[in-house]
Amino acid sequence: MNIPNELQYTRSHEWLLVEDGVAAVGLTDFAQDALGDIVFVNLPQPGDEVNAGEAFGDVESVKAVSDVISPVSGVVLEINEELVDNPALVNEDPYGAWLIKVEQITGKEELLDAGAYEAHCAEEG
């Protein structure tokens, strides 16, 4: 399982990368593997507020739907339009396939580093 060192993680299996005050959020390798083939992603609109610890969208597999929880509070700057047409990218390249980018960040959930997240996955796995 791939857990890049440069990212931060949530217990609900999202990853976070903050650069220049903008946070990119995606699903981890562990999450995409557990969910199976992703067939659709429901994302908010740019300008929407997101809150740390609350769902901002969901991902659908054939027979299931799972909320995606925002690790940060802020305002959606951008969504990954490519995923709307090609949701398989979440499975193929989970750390490349960011879902949303958030700006004006005002708060964060408790985040794990790669080592702690790996331990967390081992517990759940």
Binding site: D37, V39, E60, V62, A88
Partner: protein, 473 residues
């Protein structure tokens, strides 16, 4: 197989109407259609063969054993079809004057009476077109009741975690928030959790009894009392009424409102997905909120309005009434007992064959197996076992429901199956279990004898093709 559009050839068809016998009168140009819809152009003989081929690729109750849990796929008596085809029913316009529809009104009244007796409710409306439609209607009665009393803080509907998906979805549609109630390890409502969840925001509880794991909630009187004492109402989801009709009545258990599925319990056919009928019954104090119709009237004093046009899925009501007349007083309970007996008999046989029931002991009209052990041992899943049954001409049970049981297979044999049908199903499943242990790979590839293998559902959902694309030119 070809689509009907691929059988179409320009200029083909059948003349069905005599020529126009009044002066021609063209549709004004501004409203006239420019490009004709590309409907099939096909002769009647080819059309008949097309649908015969489709029929061969369908699986009805007439084709074999159909133990689909929570769906009550009992035999659909032919008499109902004949009666629903009577011209005295099919040829009646829904807005005919009252003195010309006495037969329809009597059929409705007799059905309402019988359903009220069977449910222990005071009033019944036949308006809702399906079970979920009935749930929505019943929840609106609950909402209207609280709102009418000025009790507007009651915004939460409690739903057990084992409930059908329609329950929480209906509650949302009716504008409620949903609070899930956990089940005990025995598969029953957790009374302590229920007490903790009840409060001044409780609008009501939705409950199926027997519940979705096929067990009778033996604390039902305590359950309805807890909700009533908190000021909420209790909704009976009639999905599983087939287990207890004539044996116990929701009205006597403390339920205030209920819906029934005529297409399950009362033997009307499922039609490949519908039409159904989802009558709603309620206690007298909810009668003023019952639905009516803007054009047909008949609503309660503070009616919630209406949930569809006109009166009911009337021909479905006719079929159900036909069935009810055949059953009459004594045989309503006999049918329920037969359903429960068959379920326990099949459960017993499958346990003997080496399957594991999710909950031990007697069940009601259906039971749940868990194949978690088999999956761990062999890699063969509930899905694989279900698909293997297709090769033996048995419709699989409901898969992966309820959600609280892992690798669930839910069987509901119904009362209209003979013991030898159950014996054979048990043999088939025993054989599948043996093969799962010997050659798991073969089961992953099942079914082998059907017209298509397992379809690629991921591709279908990622890039939906939901209509035929006509070739260019």
């Amino acid at each position: 197989m070809e689509l009907i559009f691929e059988r179409s050839r320009p200029g083909r068809g059948t003349d069905l109407l005599p020529p126009l016998d009044v002066p021609e009168c063209p549709v004004p140009e501004e409203f006239a259609r420019k490009n004709a819809p590309r409907l099939p152009e096909i002769g009647e003989s080819d059309l008949s063969r097309h649908y015969q081929a489709l029929a061969r690729r369908a699986f009805g109750v007439c084709d074999g054993f159909y133990p689909l849990g929570s769906c009550t796929m009992k035999y659909n008596p032919k008499l109902g079809e004949d009666m629903a085809a009577l011209p005295g029913f099919t040829g009646i316009h829904p807005l005919q004057p009252a003195h010309t529809i006495r037969g329809c009104q009597l059929a409705m009244a007799q059905t309402e009476y019988a359903l009220a007796r069977i449910t222990g409710m005071d009033r019944v409306t036949l308006q809702p077109a399906a079970g979920a439609h009935g749930e929505f209607t019943g929840l609106l009665l609950i909402k209207a009741y609280h709102v009418h009393r000025g009790d507007t803080g009651r915004t939460v509907i409690l739903v057990p975690d084992s409930a059908h998906g329609t329950n929480p979805a209906s509650a949302t549609m009716a504008g409620f928030t949903v609070r899930n109630i956990p089940s005990t390890a025995e598969g029953l409502v957790d009374l302590e959790a229920l007490k903790a969840a009840c409060g001044p925001d409780t609008a009501g509880l939705m409950l199926t009894n027997p519940n979705t794991v096929g067990l009778f909630e033996r604390d039902i009187l305590a359950i309805t009392k807890i909700v009533h004492e908190a000021g909420g109402l209790v909704y009976y989801d009639g999905a599983n009424l087939n287990a207890i009709m004539g044996v116990a009545r929701p009205g006597d258990m403390g339920f205030d409102v209920c819906h029934l599925n005529l297409h399950k319990t009362f033997a009307t056919p499922h039609g490949g997905g519908g039409p159904g009928s989802g009558p709603v019954g309620c206690k007298e104090f909810l009668a003023p909120f019952m639905p009516g119709s803007a054009l047909c009237g008949n609503g309660g004093e503070h009616s919630i309005g209406q949930v569809r046009a006109f009166h009911a899925n009337f021909l479905v009501v006719v079929k159900a009434l036909t069935y009810l007349m055949r059953l009459g007083n004594s045989r309503v309970a006999e049918a329920a007992q037969g359903a429960v007996l068959n379920a326990n008999y099949l459960k017993h046989k499958l346990e003997e064959a080496g399957y594991t029931a999710a909950f031990p002991g007697l069940c009601m009209h259906e039971f749940v197996l868990t194949l978690e052990g088999l999956k761990k041992e062999t890699g063969v899943s509930a899905l694989d076992v279900a698909k293997a049954m297709l090769d033996d001409g048995i419709h699989p049970p409901t898969m992966y429901f309820p959600l609280i049981v892992h690798e669930a297979l839910m069987f509901e044999p119904t009362e209209t199956e003979a013991p030898e049908t159950l014996d054979r199903a048990a043999e088939v499943l025993a054989d599948i279990l043996r093969r799962a242990k010997e050659d798991p790979e073969a089961l992953h590839a099942a079914p082998h004898s059907t017209v298509v293998g397992r379809p690629d559902e991921t591709a279908a959902a990622r890039h939906p093709v939901v209509r035929y694309t006509f070739p260019e030119g």
